[in-house]
Each structure stands twice: as structure tokens, then as C-alpha cells.
């Protein structure tokens, strides 16, 4: 007597989600290690508040607003995908990309202002940490933008973005969460 062997394979969407969460777990350790080093070095150092006072809280607040809003538009792009609203997917992806670009534009302005004022990555421990943490975060924003632009181009050509938009959204929201902690750490807590 033969019995049928069946196996329940997880769907590609679930496998993709698990893979992305593993990536996020490794990213948490990367940013966690960097942030931990910053907190410990700052605890052991004096004079950092004077250095941190050069940072603009107003610009960082606007940038935080941009990233928080981009998280909402990314979540709405996924919601539009779930109700098969292709136009909604394209519109909300476009808003997410524009907000990400605005964030990078302000960050670039901050960098050029600081470097113009002689505050470069080699100007002391605080600035080395500042450029390392925000630069690493900016690289993640750029990576997220590349993914989002790819999805937008696919959607504009009528190709389905599928579950990939949920995966891209998870990554984008994680990048937002990293900034949620970098903002008070670098700009507000001196």
C-alpha cells in the first residue's frame, strides 16, 4: 500500500519575508554595535556637547518628518497592492521615493555645511561617529531608494510588483526606525 507524501512548502512571499527579517536582524547588530560604541565613547568623553551644538535640530526635525511620512506612503503603497490598485501603488511609491530624496538632499546640505565650516570626519571623535552613523544610514536610504525605483519602473511598465513591495516596505520601515533612534542620539541628547 502506497501513501502519498505531501509537504507544505511556505509560499515565496513568506520565504522572502523571513529572508528580509534575517537581513534586518543582522542590520540590527551592525547599527546596535555602532550605536553602542557611540554611547560608551560619549560616556567616557568630555566636550562632546559643544561639538553636538553645531548640529541643526530644525533640519534634523524636518528630515525626521520626511522619513516618518515616507513610511506612511510606503505602507499605503502596500495597502494599494493588496486591493489591486496599480495606480495607487505607483503614486505612493513615487511619494516615498521623493521623500527619500528630500531626506538625502537635506543630509547632503548638512554635510557640505559642516565640512565647509571645518567639521570633517577627522575633526574629532564626535564627528567621526556622526559621519559614520549618519553615513551608514544614508547608504541604507540609497539602497532602499534603488529598490523602490526598480519597483516603480516595473509598475509603470505594467509588470506586477507582487509581494516584493511588502519586502521592500519592511526594509524601508527598518531604515526609518534606525533614524528614529539616531535623531535623539545625535541631535537631542547633548
Amino acid at each position: 500500500m502506497r501513501t502519498a507524501i505531501t509537504s507544505e512548502q511556505p509560499s515565496p512571499a513568506y520565504r522572502g519575508k523571513i529572508a528580509l527579517w534575517w537581513l534586518i536582524a543582522s542590520e540590527i547588530m551592525i547599527f546596535g554595535g555602532a550605536v553602542s560604541s557611540y554611547i560608551l565613547t560619549r560616556t567616557a568623553s568630555t566636550g562632546w556637547p559643544a561639538e553636538a551644538a553645531h548640529l541643526s535640530i530644525a533640519l534634523a526635525t524636518v528630515n525626521t518628518f520626511f522619513l516618518l511620512t515616507s513610511s506612511m506612503t510606503m505602507a499605503m503603497a502596500f495597502a494599494a497592492y493588496e486591493k489591486m490598485d496599480q495606480r495607487g501603488v505607483r503614486t505612493f511609491l513615487l511619494f516615498t521615493i521623493l521623500l527619500g530624496l528630500a531626506f538625502l538632499g537635506i543630509k547632503a546640505y548638512e554635510y557640505t555645511s559642516h565640512i565647509g565650516a571645518g567639521l570633517a570626519p577627522w575633526s574629532g571623535s564626535f564627528w567621526a561617529f556622526y559621519y559614520m552613523l549618519t553615513g551608514l544610514h544614508a547608504l541604507h536610504v540609497i539602497a532602499g531608494l534603488i529598490v523602490n525605483v526598480t519597483l516603480l519602473l516595473a509598475a509603470r511598465k505594467g509588470l506586477g510588483v507582487g509581494y516584493r513591495i511588502e519586502i521592500a516596505g519592511l526594509y524601508w520601515h527598518f531604515v526609518d526606525i534606525v533614524w528614529i533612534f539616531l535623531f535623539p542620539l545625535l541631535y537631542l541628547s547633548y
Binding site: K17, I18, W21, W22, I24, A25, S26, I28, M29, F31, G32, G33, V35, S36, I39, L40, T43, A44, S45, I57, T61, T64, F65, L68, T69, S71, M72, M74, A75, M76, A79, A80, E82, K83, D85, G169, L170, H173, F174, D176, I177, I180, F181, F183, P184, L188, S189
Partner: protein, 92 residues
């Protein structure tokens, strides 16, 4: 109808995030002890991160495996900082 509810839920989450962002910024000018202010702004940041993770990353409806993958590295990173923090504080 359900999609409209999802959109309004996302907007409500965003409003909370923006309000909490402003609370964090204005907390810096409160006439309180520095350590209290720092504790407050990081508590606000933690609530904001939880809102994004629960509502936008859908953690509230995920299974235990994804929770474990997300939470274990966070606990490790926090533990690493706290364990070393007291040592640094004692020596500097």
C-alpha cells in the same frame, strides 16, 4: 471599505508619530534634570519605533518566528550596551 479603513489607520499612526517627534524635540527645553530629559526622549523614540514595527511592518499580526528574529538581536544589542556602560562609568 476595508482599504479605506487601512488608509485611515496608517494616517492615524503617522499623526501619532509626528506628535511624538514634536514631544521629543520640545522635551529638550523642559526645565528638568538632563538625565530625565534624555530618558524621556529615548522613551518617546522607543514608542515611535514600536508604532512603526507594529503597524507599518505588521509585527502585530506576525508569527512567533518573525518576532524572535526581530527581538533577539535587539535584546543582544541593548544588553551589550548596558553591560559595558556601568564599567565605562566606573572607570571614566
Amino acid at each position: 471599505m476595508a482599504a479605506d479603513r487601512v488608509h485611515s489607520h496608517h494616517i492615524a499612526t503617522w499623526v501619532w508619530l509626528v506628535v511624538l517627534m514634536l514631544v521629543g524635540v520640545f522635551a529638550t527645553v523642559l526645565p528638568l534634570d538632563r538625565s530625565v530629559i534624555v530618558g524621556l526622549i529615548f522613551a518617546v523614540a522607543t514608542v515611535k519605533a514600536a508604532l512603526v514595527a507594529r503597524n507599518y511592518m505588521h509585527l502585530k499580526s506576525e508569527n512567533w518566528l518573525i518576532y524572535a528574529i526581530a527581538v533577539i538581536p535587539v535584546l543582544l544589542a541593548v544588553a551589550m550596551t548596558f553591560v559595558l556602560y556601568w564599567d565605562v562609568l566606573r572607570h571614566y
